[in-house]
């Protein structure tokens, strides 16, 4: 067996042969060689890998004394020095699935690749699915041989430092990581095929899983507007005239802060728009259209709002991916929060 990968297998108390629910509190046991389903795993690994150690842990032990359990796993892995860790499969067993997820992450933290298997709706996937390699299984151990075959294949690849291909090709559950790839048929053919499947009630697989955006709970209304500090933020591409800051006209790399404390209004002599998504000349004649400072000054005088925040935030919103927009939004919100702003007016174009 020289050259075979060293494999450590993790199973729970049930598959470790210790017992059912009554044994769910057992602490981590380290045993030599394969145990229970580990024998099937060994068969599936063949010459390529050897199950040198089996870790057996109780479901409740992992859920109730997580830190202690993971410290024992880490210690056991340090001493066993495996090339790859295999956990489970856990099927639809929730606590077991969570433990498998934790074991995989503990191994990965030591630089050891790991693979598990479980039902796609197992809490272990819901909690750790983006960080672990897991083969999707059915609900019950009837599928044990198939699941271990698939896991063994991935374990040999991972243990041999091979990079994994796309989830669908390799047979692991998608982790929410999207990369550029290629499919067999041209997009037009795929679109028509998908439409016909959908119309006829046949199964189809969207190439972009529905990934609903973050829902942001609205902040509480400004309690007392006439004492409030209101900030102005614009994605209309406002720049100082001549664009001395060299702000881009789209897909910005940063936002800019300008003080308007001494200004009554934005004059077209001093400010303009530089934005690739609309005809800028109208705004250039009155920049208050994209940052309504002059209107805010009227509201201040009338006592409707307390004051306009000294700092304005500006950038062009056009063509900015969600990831970047989220970061800009968080940073601007932090700026405003630190400055004690009560409310913000975001002017989009």
């Amino acid at each position: 067996m020289s050259g075979a990968l060293r494999v450590v297998h993790f199973v729970n108390q049930f598959f470790g042969g210790v017992g059912g629910e009554e044994a769910a509190n057992i602490p981590l046991e380290v045993r030599e060689g394969p145990v229970g389903p580990g024998r099937l795993l060994q068969q599936a690994l063949g010459e390529g890998g050897s199950v040198v150690t089996t870790l057996v842990g109780g479901d409740n032990y992992f859920s109730e004394r997580k830190e202690e359990a993971l410290a024992s796993v880490t210690a056991a892995l340090r001493s066993a020095k495996p090339d790859v860790v295999v956990a489970g499969p856990a099927f639809d067993a929730g606590r077991y699935g969570l433990a498998c997820g934790e074991v995989c992450k503990a191994a990965q933290a030591l630089g050891i690749p790991a693979v598990t298997g479980m039902h796609p709706e197992n809490p272990g996937i819901l909690s750790h699915g983006q960080q672990i390699i897991a083969v999707g299984t059915g609900s019950t151990p009837v599928e044990m041989p198939a699941a271990l075959q698939a896991m063994a294949r991935l374990a040999l690849k991972l243990g041999g430092s091979q990079e994994l291909g796309p989830a669908a090709e390799e047979g692991y559950l998608p982790r929410g990581i999207r990369r550029l790839g290629a499919r067999e048929a041209p997009a037009a053919t795929r679109a028509v095929d998908m439409a016909l499947a959908k119309i006829s009630g046949k199964p189809w697989m969207s190439e972009v899983p529905v990934h609903l955006p973050d829902r942001v709970a609205p902040a509480a209304p400004v309690a007392n507007l006439k004492d409030a500090t209101i900030a102005l933020v614009t994605t209309g591409g406002l720049v100082r005239r001549g664009n001395p800051d060299r702000q881009s006209s789209g897909n910005p790399t940063r936002y800019y802060r300008h003080s308007v404390v001494e200004l009554e209004s934005l004059s077209g002599k001093d400010w303009e728009a530089y934005h690739g998504g609309y005809f800028n000349a109208i705004v250039n004649s009155n920049p208050n259209y994209i940052l309504p400072l002059s209107f805010m000054r009227v509201l201040e005088r009338e006592g409707v709002v307390g004051r306009t925040h000294q700092w304005i935030h500006a950038m062009p919103g056009v063509g900015t991916p969600v990831a970047k927009s989220r970061r800009f939004g968080e940073d601007i919100a932090r700026d405003l929060k630190e400055d004690g702003v009560d409310g913000a007016l975001l002017v989009a174009t």
Binding site: I177, A191, P316
Partner: protein
């Protein structure tokens, strides 16, 4: 509506003493043709250069690519309406096309008059970028054309695009009176009533928001019978599109892509086989208010219902806020009981961000054509840091302005980051895949 499309393959283009198509070779009398281009006093430069597939050539800046097409029977002209051409309804009779080539409009004229406007598209005839785009597999006859910079952006655009169309017309005219080597008949004849009715809904950006006069001036953008402004959902027969009724570029999609629209041809070629192609609804995008956007979506679904659609394919030419019209059209169709597929590229997934600007649950059948920020397949790191290889020859301008405010000059022949790829009309196999 019956259209016969006669294809004249072009396997080589040679410069010679006359302009004719013979035995798949297109001979061009460049001097006579260019004289005609230059007879428009607005034109300050007109030159011709040829780029062949596989050559170490970069074409910059590319504004449009036009497949020479001409109507030899039936009303109207190919590419109707744009640049003052006749507006008769097209799609009937016989149209000839020169297949395997395009006339590439190479010009520094800016597409719109939005802030910081710039050109960004180039073609490589070899290397990784050439692998990605259908245009690099064509013989590209490049018209290097510039207009008087004192003119308005609209007039400059009209001048250079009119010259491009004039050249394409002259080349297509070489097939008049000849028998096409290949013919295909396009007709939405009666089919088995059990086959599902499917409509195609291309969503087209309107440059109206980028225009000072809000009028129908031609920018470097798509025009429907010449109209580029915001218009309500426009039902069309697919034959009209084969005759170029929607034409002009938007970003990487060109007139060539529209006339050879892969989605439209897929639906057409499966008409009577496994579906019933019920027609096209062209939707304009980048309306201003949410209410306007929503209205267009609801009206699109209404028209689709009137066409009897059971299914729809929605695609768009990619941008930002236009996605709201697009994905709300998907929702409106779904709510009207029409099973809808969205064909789109995805945004940058960095940080686990959703790759669709507004991912609605109704958009549950999506064909992904690319992932934003990916550059080219096999390229590592963000697109902006990936470099396409240097090319031996540049057709067009030798330099390009880059940087945040486009004031840094780079050598076009040298290493260059790839342009933003998109596949509005479904030619490619690229896709976002899950790891």
């Amino acid at each position: 509506m019956r259209l016969e499309l006669g294809s004249f393959p072009v396997t080589d283009i040679v410069f010679g003493a006359r302009t004719r198509w013979q035995d798949s070779v297109l001979e061009i009398d460049a001097r006579a043709l260019l004289e005609e281009m230059r007879s428009d006093p607005r034109i300050t430069r007109a030159e011709l250069e040829l780029a062949r597939p596989g050559e170490s050539v970069r074409i910059w800046p590319v504004r449009d690519a036009v497949e020479p097409r001409i109507k030899v029977e039936g009303p109207g002209v190919a590419y109707p309406g744009i640049c003052g051409r006749a507006i008769d309804t097209v799609g009937q009779g016989r149209t000839h096309r020169l297949a395997g080539m395009s006339v590439v409009e190479v010009s520094e004229v800016l597409p719109h008059d939005a802030g910081g406007d710039y050109n960004s598209i180039f073609y490589d005839m070899s290397g990784p970028w050439a692998e990605m785009i259908p245009m690099s597999k064509l013989l590209n006859l490049c018209l290097l054309v510039e207009a008087d910079p004192a003119l308005t952006i609209i007039d400059q655009n009209d001048a250079v695009h009119r010259a491009t169309l004039k050249l394409a017309d002259r080349l297509a005219a070489t097939t008049v009176g000849l028998e096409p080597p290949q013919r295909e008949v396009f007709e939405l004849g009666p089919v088995d009533p059990a086959l599902p009715k499917v409509v195609y809904i291309p969503c087209l950006h309107s440059a109206q928001a980028m225009s000072g006069n809000g009028s129908n001036g031609f920018f470097c953008t798509t025009a429907t019978y010449g109209l580029s402004m915001l218009t309500p959902p426009w039902p069309m027969h697919p034959n009209e599109i084969l005759d170029g009724a929607i034409t002009g570029p938007y970003r990487i999609a060109t007139s060539w892509h529209l006339a050879n629209n892969r989605i439209l041809l897929e639906l057409y070629r499966r008409h009577g086989v496994d579906l019933n192609f019920a027609g096209v609804i062209a939707v304009r995008t980048e309306w201003t208010t949410m209410e306007e956007k929503e209205l267009m979506c609801l009206q699109t679904a209404k028209v689709a219902q009137m066409l009897g659609a059971q299914g729809a394919i929605v695609a768009w030419d990619a941008g930002g806020n236009e996605f709201l019209e697009v994905v709300h059209t998907v929702r409106a169709c779904q709510r009207a009981g029409i099973k809808t597929v969205l064909l789109t590229s995805e945004d940058d997934p960095t940080g686990g961000a959703p790759t669709l600007l507004e991912p609605l649950p109704e958009a549950d059948a999506v064909v992904s054509t690319f992932i934003g920020g990916s550059g080219y397949p096999g390229g590592s790191g963000p697109a902006s840091s990936q470099m396409l290889p240097a090319m031996a020859r540049v057709i067009g301008s030798p330099t390009r302005l880059v940087g945040a405010v486009r004031d840094e000059v780079i050598d076009v022949a040298g290493p260059m980051p790839p342009p933003r790829y998109n596949d509005t009309y479904g030619f490619g196999r690229y896709s976002g895949v899950e790891y």
